[in-house]
């Protein structure tokens, strides 16, 4: 059985009289250590999938079995725990705490985990050895995203979820971030899911799940993911 098994996932938002089916009957599976890209245009439902995978939302129906545990029926408290211990989250806009230094931002996440990685080590790994005591405002976008990744990684999560991690970055920096994600995924064997509308990024993934109009368009295994250096956008 796969590490992540999503079966017949449906999410319906009730907006008063209107009901919107964000996703319908979405099923896919992800193996442990896999680098997966969920690809789709705006409004395709990928963020809904991300929200549900990330434990920020519950599905209307369907199952999400992660490491043999179904999280689809989790209550809020359990979801909090799930987010806390199992998920590392990388935001499009980094979402660093402005008045904490890079190191402190990582520590912030660390202190609530069971087996956190050393914050300084993690920061060193993402290439911010010399910038650890800088505040976010003193860092470039790429650097901030690295802190964000370090913060997610330091939690030692089962799954690393990245929401448009390059969305706010220029292509060069974006590439460096993608490389970082790819490298860490391979090195740490952390299951990494990147959500993006950028099909080029999909090339580096082990598996690409294409979403369209709330349903899965295709699931492709990329037998030969490209190294980041080779892609360009």
């Amino acid at each position: 059985m796969a590490f992540i098994e999503v079966k017949n996932l449906t999410k319906i938002y009730n907006m008063g009289e209107v009901t919107i089916k964000a996703i319908e009957n979405v099923s896919f599976s992800i193996d442990e250590g896999e680098l997966v890209v969920i690809l789709g245009p705006s409004g395709a439902g990928k963020t809904t999938i991300l929200n549900i995978l990330g434990g920020m939302d519950s599905p209307t129906s369907g199952e999400i079995i992660i490491d043999d545990t179904d999280i689809s029926k989790y209550n809020k408290k359990e979801l909090t725990k799930y987010r806390r211990y199992d998920i590392g989250f990388v935001f499009q806009f980094y979402n660093l705490v402005g008045n904490l230094t890079a190191l402190e931002n990582v520590e912030l996440a660390n202190q609530i985990c069971k087996n956190p990685k050393d914050s300084e080590e993690t920061l060193k790994k993402v290439g911010l050895k010399g910038r650890m005591n800088h505040f976010p405002a003193q860092l470039s976008g790429g650097e901030q995203q690295r802190v964000s990744i370090a913060r997610a990684l330091a939690k030692n999560p089962k799954i690393l979820l990245c929401d448009e991690p390059t969305g706010a970055l220029d292509s060069k920096t974006g590439k460096m971030i993608i490389k970082l994600l790819q490298d860490t995924c391979h090195e740490t064997k952390t299951t990494t899911i990147i959500i993006t509308h950028n099909s080029i990024i999909a090339q580096i993934a082990d598996k690409v799940i294409k979403v369209k109009n709330g349903t899965i368009e295709s699931i492709e295994k990329n037998l030969k993911p490209k190294p980041v250096e080779e892609i360009d956008w």
């Binding site: 909090t80 935001f91 609530i112």
Partner: protein, 1004 residues
Amino acid sequence: MLLLKNSIIKIRKQLGRFLSLILIVALGSAFFAGVRETSSDMIKTLDEYYDETNLLDFRIVSTMGLTNDDLNAINKLENTYIVEENYSYETVIDGDATKIYGITDKINNIILTSGNLPKNNNECLVMEGSYNIGDTITITDENYTDYLKTNTFKVVGTIRSSMYVYKHLGTSTVSDGKLDNFIYIHKDNFNLEYYTEIYIIAKDSQEKTSYKDDYEEQIEILREELEELAPIQETIRYEQIKTEAMEEIYDAREKIENERQKNEKTFATTLADLNYAQLQITNGLNQIESGYTEIENQKTSIEQEFLTQETTLNESLNTINKALQSQNITTTSIDASISDLENKINSINLLLSNLDPTNEEYIKYSTIITQLTTLKSNLEEIKNGYTKLEEGKTTWEQTYESTINELNTNKENLLNKQTTLDEAYEEYNEKYALFQEEINKNLKEISDAEAKISKLEKPKWYLFDREDNAGYTTFLDSATKVDSIAAVFPIFFIVIAFLMCLNTMTRMIEEERTEIGIFTSLGISRFKITMSYVVYVFIATILGILIGLTIGYTVVPRVLYKVYTSAFIIPSLKTYANIPICITIIEVCILTMTLVTIYSVNKKFILAPATLLRPESPKNGRKVLLEKINFIWKRISFSWKVTFRNLFRYTKRIIMTLVGISGCTALLLTGFGIRDSISKIVDIQFTEIQKYDSMLILDEELSAESQEINTFLANNNIDNPLYTHTETLTFQSDGKKIDCYLFAFPDNDITQYFNLTDTKDNQLSLSDNGAIIVEKMADTLNVDVGDTITLRDTNNEIYVIKIAGISKNYVNNYIYMNKEYYELAFNNKITYNSIITNIADKGNIVMDSNYFSTIQYSDDNMDMLNDIINNMRNIVYLIIGFSSFLAITVLYNLTSINISERLREIATLKVLGFNNKEISMYVYRETIILTTIGIAIGLILGIGLDYFVLVVAEPDEIIFIKEISYLSYIFTVIIMVFFTILVQAITSIILKKINMIDSLKSVE
């Protein structure tokens, strides 16, 4: 239109914020307007009441009553407006000291609350709440006729009077010295020749507001006139009374003289009659006596005559008898002799018949016969003489006896008459003596009266104004003293409210940065954008002010009025919108709010629209000072480190928060502090410092040392009486005359009734070298032990007193000294005019005795002061209430701003897996620290504010305990903590509702 629409959208979008903005403005302006307005509304209400009822400005009473002449003289004064005379009489009815007034129609008009006005002299009006309509009131005082024509009245109506606005009606000269009731009857029911009082309203005084300085100034003009008039009228009245009295005396004396003369005449006539009668009796008696003498004389002479006749007869008889013997006739009686002679004659005749007449014998015998016949006729003559004599004797004896009898009867009659006459004399004498006595008595009375008149003192006018009316002044005390406490608070409120608004607006504009950017980039003018916020603020402010002023001008004053005039009998409050203050509030609020908005918005315009469209670069994180102290920083847990960082990120917000929290804390503490300061002073004053229960004020001429008082005290088991000399003196401070009360005692030991300690709680005792004065006096005069102070008595005599000690005291100003020092300082022998005792029960025997003019019960004093203090306490509760409300609003506002500023951060933390508790704590830690610091600062501020308010509000004769009890600190902290928790509880709901998805959005 677009502007308005935008503004309305803004309102709808964050209704909570809009409402809180309104609430803060409303709260601030309500409190500001309300508290500011209450006392002036109260005073205006009362002023109107006084004007409606034509409350007097002055009341004149005179020791000898007032006359029409006085009335006219006062009327003629330039500055009098209305003058009216009246009568009053104080007496005890059903145990209540009651003042009876005539119903006036120009001044001091009464207000009929039920029933109708009296139609005749047997009907009366009573104080609302005393008797019921239909009740009958009877005056039992025997001397009522000196004042009234009737003494039984039927109650036909109840009234209230602006003279008596306070439930304590003031002092009385009867009963226990406290006036309990008043009654109004028709003026012509009074039986007095003079008016007991004259009421005056000064010109233009009603146009001024009572209690205000311009009122005082207005009546001052008339006061001067009246004070000038007083000695003139006093003299006139004096002369009048004196003349009247002299005339009366003259008349009386004349009358007595006439009477005497008339009576003397009558007496003289009577005496003359008596004397005449006496004379007659005496004469009669004399006559009788001479009658006696006469008859006796007669008797003697007659008896002498009888004797002579008898002797003559006897001699004749003897001669005859001798002749007879010669004839041999011896007889025992004349008759026998006669018969013998006859026999002899007959026998001889017989012989003769037989004899020739020529016979010798015959001749012889004829001669014998002739002899014998002569003898016989002589004898018969003698016999007749005897018979006549006997007859004469008998007749005489009868005459004599009847004469004597007659005389005796007459004498007896006369003697009887004499007895009657003697009685009459006695009666006369008695009557005359009585008459003399009566005359002398009357004369003495007259001469006494004369002496009295010669000693007659000039009448004295007493001029009373409204200040002498306990109700009038107590009301002002209530209104202004509370006001002075309240005065400081509204400003505090406004400042805090203003800061909160500023905070909210700044935050709002911050949040809508992007929107402003969009509008600018779309080419909408800055003015329009600014205006959309200004309109927003304008709506909020106007609504807030409207609500605030409505509450502030109606509810707040009404509540306050109701609460702190519970002891008054006055019309319900008329609220007046104080237009200048309204306008000021509106102007200030709108102006400041608009300026704040324009400023905040314009700060954004400095940036290019493009920059505005981009999210605001996060404020630079900064290391805090604490981090430099490594060894501490290292020991602080990570969460706290974050907290400290966050705390110092927004200095402005910290300051705001601290100001808000500390302000509220200070207000609360001050509220409690004032309560502490005032609530106990009365109890301490009357149970710990002045421990006696009552003070008996002796009638003027009596001394406590006199035998009768001592006997009275002993007879009534009044233990441990403390004699004292009491006197009201004044001292000057800043041109103000302040009353103080002197106690002078015979001994140094007064510990049973007084506990005098210095400010360090050391026991003080009286000494021969100076007086003990109270703390407040020493403070006011800025003097210390060893200094001297100058006091004036009621006659304005100046005395210099040396201070030997300063004692703790809270209410009123007192000077304590012993007899020796009193006599030294006042150069006057001490008279003990009061007695301090522990008699606490009213209606006791002391009250009924005639020795005391007044009995002052500590309980009554306490009640009176407690009324004032309760008023203060009520306003304190209001302050506490409002402060609490403000505290909640401020805390809520600050916390919600804090959250809204960090919405994204919190959403992110949620995504990172922070549970609710951790997230709450992440925010609350800051609140906890700020609240703690805020409360700490607030407590310190509160001490200062409390002190300031107390100093400002402290009346001349009261010292507040400027100590805040621990309990108040605790209460303040508890309330603040409670509110903090409450607000956190509310905000934790907001925190829970924060959607994690927000973290995914781009920064706005």
